[in-house]
């Protein structure tokens, strides 16, 4: 049947496939989702993987170590009820012991070591650093969530509605964006610190501390703008897609389209910029703590530990160096991980 011009159907072309031919057509690799693909690319990136491991280690230890550690972050070891303050516990060098502890060791008892020594009030420094890490991480995480929620809502409304709504929202965003953020943060934090303190007394929020709450308010007021700009831009390009038109033709309402079609499609951009927002928030918190506008004493944060260490810097430099290293490590690995996340999930954004 080599005659190409015949009108007859070539029957040979329709015989059932043999087993060999079938095996050839079988897909060798299970089908992959967007998420799986991204994870694969992420895990291939060695720097990002190491950063992720460091972040997980630091986070887990800051959560679990305080549970079994024999000392607490606010107990002054030299202070015993009914006895004068034992000053031998203050300013201990790493791995040394206070007077009563030495007596107990001589009596053959086991005493848990002060790995990083103690601070000027006789508090175990290791647990303070661990606790401070916990606070800093928590502040960074929750601040980013607040930024995410506000930025996402405003950005998607502006992007979807367009027209006058968009114009007004974006002018407000422009102004907030061009405010010098750090100065406004300092101003708001210092005023809120004075205003919120009395207002919160007796409520459940008092335990968190007025300063952390004012920090969250400041983040909620000022830092959502870049997130909302980003999401607006995404939504503007996505809403012209055919599936949105199809959905609208089928009678879908605005809220449904935003939630079901637009937001899921810009989710990778959202996750990446949230991940990069966390180190930013930790940075700001430590900066404010350093200026005395951060967490309320005796609660430590990495910034306030560094700030406290400034007083005894010449005699006890390690008290500055330890929180400094932890902060830099957290910020560095979060940044590197965020970069890896961006490369893995959104190659378009790569700079």
């Amino acid at each position: 049947m080599s005659n190409k011009f015949t009108m007859h159907v070539d029957v040979d072309a329709f015989i059932p496939a043999t087993e060999d031919e079938k095996a050839y057509m079988v897909q060798m690799r299970p089908s992959s989702t967007f998420f799986k693909d991204g994870m694969k690319r992420l895990l291939k990136n060695r720097v990002a993987t190491i950063s992720l491991i460091i972040i997980l280690l630091i986070t887990l230890s800051s959560i679990f170590i305080p549970m079994f550690w024999p000392y607490s972050y606010d107990s002054m070891l030299g202070v015993r009820p009914g006895k004068p303050v034992d000053a031998s516990f203050n300013n201990l060098a790493p791995m040394t012991y206070g007077r009563t502890e030495l007596q107990r060791i001589e009596a053959g008892e086991q005493v848990f070591p002060h790995i990083f020594g103690t601070d000027s009030s006789g508090r175990d420094y290791f647990i303070r650093v661990v606790y401070g890490t916990r606070i800093s991480l928590a502040v960074g995480f929750f601040a980013s969530i607040i930024v995410l929620i506000i930025g996402m809502t405003v950005g998607s409304v502006a992007g979807y509605c367009g027209g006058k709504v968009d114009l007004i929202i974006m002018r407000v965003v422009d102004i907030i964006y061009s405010l010098p953020d750090m100065l406004m943060v300092i101003l708001l934090a210092s005023v809120l610190k004075m205003t919120l303190g009395p207002a919160l007394e007796g409520t459940a929020l008092e335990k968190i501390g007025s300063n952390i709450i004012s920090l969250f308010i400041v983040f909620g007021v000022l830092y959502w703008v870049s997130m909302s700009r980003l999401i607006r831009g995404q939504i503007l390009s996505l809403r012209e897609q055919e599936y949105v038109l199809a959905s609208r033709a089928a009678g879908a309402k605005g809220g449904w389209i935003i939630r079901k079609h637009l937001l899921p499609n810009c989710i990778s951009v959202v996750i990446i910029s949230t991940a990069l927002q966390i180190p930013n928030a930790i940075f700001t918190e430590s900066y404010l703590s350093f200026l005395g506008l951060g967490v309320n004493a005796p609660m430590p944060s990495l910034g306030s530990l560094a700030s406290d260490a400034l007083n005894g810097l010449s005699s006890y430099p390690f008290r500055m160096v330890i929180p400094a290293i932890v902060i830099s490590l957290i910020v560095l690995s979060l940044n590197l991980f965020g970069d890896g996340l961006r490369d893995a999930f959104d190659p378009k954004l790569r700079t």
């Binding site: 102004i175 061009s178 010098p180 100065l183 101003l187 200026l291 500055m320 400094a324 940044n335 590197l336």
Partner: protein, 309 residues
């Protein structure tokens, strides 16, 4: 300059004016929302004395009237009123005193950052993926991740205490060396990374290939084409760099005891010297807004293709 650029410039200037107004308004009302007023917390004073003090500083008038007086004084006379804690001194005088030191600090730090950062970035781009590029990238990544107060404290421990090479107190001009280095390291690292990435971008452009094909020498390509064009994005960083230096100087001046505006600002927050807090916030904010404006407009003029919307 075409009409589109002109329109952009007018729009940016208007935005800057609105921003400054927002800063003044927010600062004023936020500071006046603090309960108790500025004379609380000091030793108990009689009601008559309190009323006299409030009358002297105009605090007994309605809030809106105070606001318009404050706004008018700033715009027409550049007057932020008297300081509440440093008796007999005007806020403007304290600010301009502090500025003398802080401007020196900031300008030298910014120049240092640019002078070191640009060549380093260019070298890293030209030796891409070689050892020197990797070393430069690792070091700059570390500098970018370190908050200024930590950098400052570590430099203080190392150079002033352990090695005793430089003075820790920033009130002498030799003592300004460490604060300047502290402030310069972050922008330097940032400029290096910025120059590197934009240089890599430029080196991949067609006109570089054309120049190479025409037989232009390597040095001429690098300095005549690549470096010149890759510096354009660096211009946009001047605004944010100033903002960084201003906020960085708040803590750096604290660490090294530099008698500048940053330290005055922080101490005015702790002693609740309201006019001082307001005045300093506004002056620094105007500085940052103007610098952002200048660097954005410069960017637009240097490269009119760019759409900053």
């Amino acid at each position: 300059m075409n009409s589109k650029t002109l329109k952009y410039i007018i729009k940016r200037v208007l935005l800057a004016i609105v921003t400054v107004w927002v800063v003044i308004t927010v600062t004023f009302f936020v500071m006046h929302a603090v309960p108790g007023g500025p004379f609380m917390g000091e030793k108990a004073i009689s009601a008559a004395a309190q009323a006299a003090l409030e009358a002297k500083y105009g605090l007994d008038k309605p809030l809106l009237e105070q606001y318009f007086t404050y706004l008018k004084d700033i715009v027409t006379k550049f007057d932020f009123g008297p300081s509440l804690k440093q008796r007999g001194r005007m806020v403007v005088d304290i600010i301009s005193d502090g500025m003398k030191t802080s401007v020196k600090l900031g300008v030298v730090a910014a120049c240092l950052a640019a002078v070191i950062g640009i060549p380093l970035g260019a070298v890293a781009a030209l030796r891409r993926n070689k050892l020197i590029d990797k070393i430069i990238m690792v070091i700059t990544t570390a500098f970018v991740s370190m908050p200024s107060f930590i950098m400052g404290s570590l430099l203080l421990v190392l150079f002033a205490i352990k090695l005793a090479l430089l003075p820790a107190n920033g009130s002498t001009s030799q003592g300004l060396i460490l604060p300047i280095i502290t402030l310069a390291l972050y922008p330097m690292a940032y400029i290096t990374r910025l120059t590197r990435s934009s240089m890599l971008d430029v080196l991949g452009q067609d006109y570089i290939r054309t120049a190479k094909a025409k037989g232009v020498s390597g040095g001429k390509i690098i300095f005549g084409h690549a470096l010149k064009n890759s510096l354009i994005p660096v211009i946009t960083y001047f605004g944010p760099m100033l903002a960084y230096i201003v906020t960085g100087s708040l803590v750096v001046e604290q660490i090294f005891a530099v008698p500048g505006i940053g330290r005055a600002f922080v101490s005015s927050i702790t002693n609740r010297d309201y006019p001082m807090v307001m005045g300093t916030t506004i002056v620094l904010a105007v500085l940052i807004v103007v610098m952002n404006l200048v660097s954005d407009i410069l960017y637009k003029i240097v490269d009119p293709r760019i759409n900053l919307e």
